[in-house]
Structure formats: C-alpha cells, structure tokens
Amino acid sequence: MIKVSFTENLQRHIRCDALDVAPGTLDAVLAQVFERYPPLAGYLLDDQGELRKHVMLAIDQQLVQGAMPHQQVLAAGSRLHIMQALSGG
C-alpha cells in the first residue's frame, strides 16, 4: 500500500485524514485519494489539472513542485505526503 498523508494546514480547510491506497502511477494514486475526498482535488490542482503553484508533494524523499510526474510509479511501501510550498500564501 501507499501511505498518503496531508499537511495540517490543509486540514484547516477540508477534512482529509491519512489513508492507505493501492500502488500505481502518481495519477492513479491521486485518483484514489480524490475518490475518497472529492473536494480535495480543487485544493491541490488548478483548473487545468496541474499542481497548484504553492502546493508541493513529497514522494518518499523526492519533492515535487510544478510539473507533476504523472506516470511515475509509486511502489508498495512508498509514502506520498501532500504539503504546502513555503512560497506564496
């Protein structure tokens, strides 16, 4: 499974508890997360489906900001942490 967790700052606005989802591409992992918490997509992605400028992902120890590696595979045991970038806001 993939362990998905969220910044506390996000949880100020919207309910999203840590959860486990099935391994797969980043797109597939996020799709599972959004299925569980539908309003969350609008908090993380802009109108064009891209990561918001001030949102950052940590896939294990790899930080992702800006262009998303949509097809990157997250293997079983990986971690996805969804956080805010330190810019903006």
Binding site: H13, Q48, V55
Partner: protein, 361 residues
C-alpha cells in the same frame, strides 16, 4: 436601516453590528483567511469568496446570516487550447466580484482574475464560463492592472431587465450585453487612458477602469472610477464624459446614490505611483450634479499623517443614500449617517480591507 457591515479583509470577513452608539465589532468569519469578495443576495443569502494562498479560491455560502457556512463550487476555466497568442492562464486566480441578480432567485454572477465572467443559476452550486465574452478577440489585448493578469471586477445588472449587463475589466474597458451575455460589444467612448501613447489614449480596449457602478434608480447613469480619472455616462455606458474632481481624480472606489443617479462618492488619492491621500489628508468627494462639481468631505476623517487607500470594492452606500461605509488598506474604517458629509471611525485595528457590504435589517 443598515444593521450589519461586512468588511472583506486580508484576515477574514469582519462583521460589525449596529448598537446603541453606532456599529460594534461582532465577529470574524473565516478568521485568518483572505476574503477577495462577498455579496448579499436579495433573499438574504451571504456569499464569501476566499483567496487561499496555497490552495486556491474557495466560495462559501450562508443562509442564516453567517451562523453556518457551506462550501460550494468555484468557477473553473475549461481546458486551455493550444494558442501561443493567448498569454492569459486559464485557471482561476481569485473571485474578484460577486453580483446576485436582483430578480432571478439563485442567479449569481462572478467576475474573476483572469478576466472571466461566470454565471451560476443555483446559488453557487455550479458555474459556467460566459464563453461569448471570454472568446471576444480583444481579450488577448487585455492586460493586468495591479495584478499580473486582467480581472473583471464590476458587473452591473439592470435592476428591471436581467438580460442587460455591463461589465468592466482592469484593463480591458467596458463591455455590454443586452441578451443575458450571449453577445457582447465594447462600449465606453470618451474614456481616456492617460498612460497610453497619445494616439492610443481613446482606444476602448486599453481603458483601466478601476470600478464601474450603474445608478440603481436609472441605470443609464453609469459612474466610473478609472485609473487616471472619473467619468460619467448618461446613456448606459455608450459614451462617457470626463470629470475633474479636486483635489485628485485618482482612486479605485465609487458609490452611487440609490435614488439620485446624479449623486456619487469617491475616495481619491495621489495618483498611481504613490497611492495615499493628497497631503496625507483623507477625504471623500461627492458630486450631486452629475459630475459637474465635487465637494470634498473631510469632517471626521484624519487631516494629517494618513496613508489610507480605499480599494475598488471598499466603499458602499445603503438603500437610503444616507449611510455609507468604507475601509482602507491600513485597516481603518469609517461610517457616515448623513450622506457622506461627516464620518465616524468604526475601527483602526482591522486587517487591510478589500471590500465592504452593507446589510439592511
């Protein structure tokens, strides 16, 4: 009679309520969050748009005077086609204005940055982009004024004809539709952009309108606070006449009297590169003769050391024309009960104020 004032601030929607001696601080909705727009519908519904720094724009609705809020949908732009000439992002940066239709229950218009116009017919549960305006070829010549991208900040709905709409863009001039937004044409002859080269100053599309308000009692009267001037129209924004208020024509906000279309208020500042009151003395200018003359109203306002600037949605007048309120970038707010002749301080401890809404009991 106004019984509540809502200030849209950088740190929440601040509510003041009428008390024995004026208005008292009551509470802050969305404490800590930037409020980019708010509105009160004819049925008493409240909307509050947040511009969250990290997580985008959000919209909340309350049907019980702010006791409970429900998050509803926000306008979303469609997928951007491949077009190298279109420099604008197709993604919502912020909701800049919200205008409930006065006659059609549930209909709510939103103006956004970038300069989109959206309509909801279910009180904000769903939105659709007005494609007709978004697709006008001139949109590619709109440019940002204050923000990086152009923004639509003013939506004037004819009080008796919901199909008649006038909108203004900073910077993209004034646009008008007579068929509920299916077709648009640019209007605003006479608006003058001092900041453009001489042969482009009267181009309709280059006009940085800061705020446009139509008179509720006669919407043919349209007042504009423009980047470099005050303008007024008596033919429904087709043509404008430039006014020359003392001591400055620069500013953002305008309020129009609900019953007397020739009466309007402005809060001027030193023009664009400075943006504080002339001689650091805060004043409100009022015209009662359709812009021929303006009277500076200073009673109760600081006449030295002021840095107060009022943004485009930061001044409002009630249904009687007697009560006005404004809030400033330095977190001060004043109220008038005599049509803007004298002013009483409401607070000097607010966050920066973006807008103000007056609510009648």
């Amino acid at each position: 009679m106004v019984d509540r004032i809502l200030f849209w601030t950088r740190k929440g929607l601040v509510e003041m309520r009428a008390g024995d001696h004026g208005f008292d601080y009551a509470q802050t909705h969305f404490l800590g969050e930037p409020v980019s727009a708010a509105a009160v519908g004819p049925d008493g519904t409240w909307w509050c748009a947040l511009a969250l720094g990290h997580f985008g724009s959000k919209l909340h609705r309350s049907t019980d005077l702010g006791a409970n809020w429900q998050e509803v949908a926000v306008p979303v732009f469609p997928e951007k086609p491949d077009d190298p000439d279109d420099k604008n992002p197709w993604a919502l940066e912020q909701i800049w204005c919200l205008e409930p239709d006065p006659q059609i229950p549930g209909r709510l218009w939103a103006g956004t940055i970038p300069g989109g116009l959206f309509r909801s017919d279910d009180g904000g549960d769903s939105w659709s982009l007005n494609q007709a305006l978004w697709n006008v070829p001139a949109r590619k010549n709109w440019f940002g004024g204050g923000f990086d991208n152009p923004g639509l900040h003013s939506i004037a709905i004819h009080p008796e004809d919901s199909d008649s709409l006038t909108v203004a863009i900073s910077s993209g001039g004034v646009w008008k539709s007579e068929d509920a937004g299916n077709h648009w044409r640019q209007v605003g002859k006479g608006l003058r952009a001092e900041y453009m080269p001489e042969d482009m100053q009267f181009d309709l599309v280059n006009q940085d309108v800061h705020r446009l308000m139509a008179a509720p009692s006669n919407p043919d009267w349209v007042w504009v606070q423009h980047h470099n001037g005050v303008f007024v129209s008596s033919d429904g924004a087709e043509t404008f006449r430039e006014c020359t208020p003392d001591p400055s024509a620069f500013g953002f906000a305008v309020a129009v009297h609900p019953k007397r279309p020739e009466t309007a208020w402005f809060v001027p500042g030193v023009k664009d590169q400075y943006r504080f009151p002339v001689d650091q003395a805060l004043l409100v200018t009022r015209s009662e003769d359709g812009g021929k003359t303006f009277q500076a109203q200073r009673q109760g306002l600081p006449q030295g050391g002021s840095f107060d600037l009022v943004y485009r949605h930061g001044l409002a007048v009630d249904r009687t024309g007697n009560t006005l309120a404004f809030g400033t970038t330095t977190g001060n707010a004043w109220c008038s009960r005599d049509g803007g002749t004298s002013w009483q301080l409401l607070s000097h401890t607010l966050p920066p104020v973006y807008g103000v809404s007056l609510i009648n009991a």
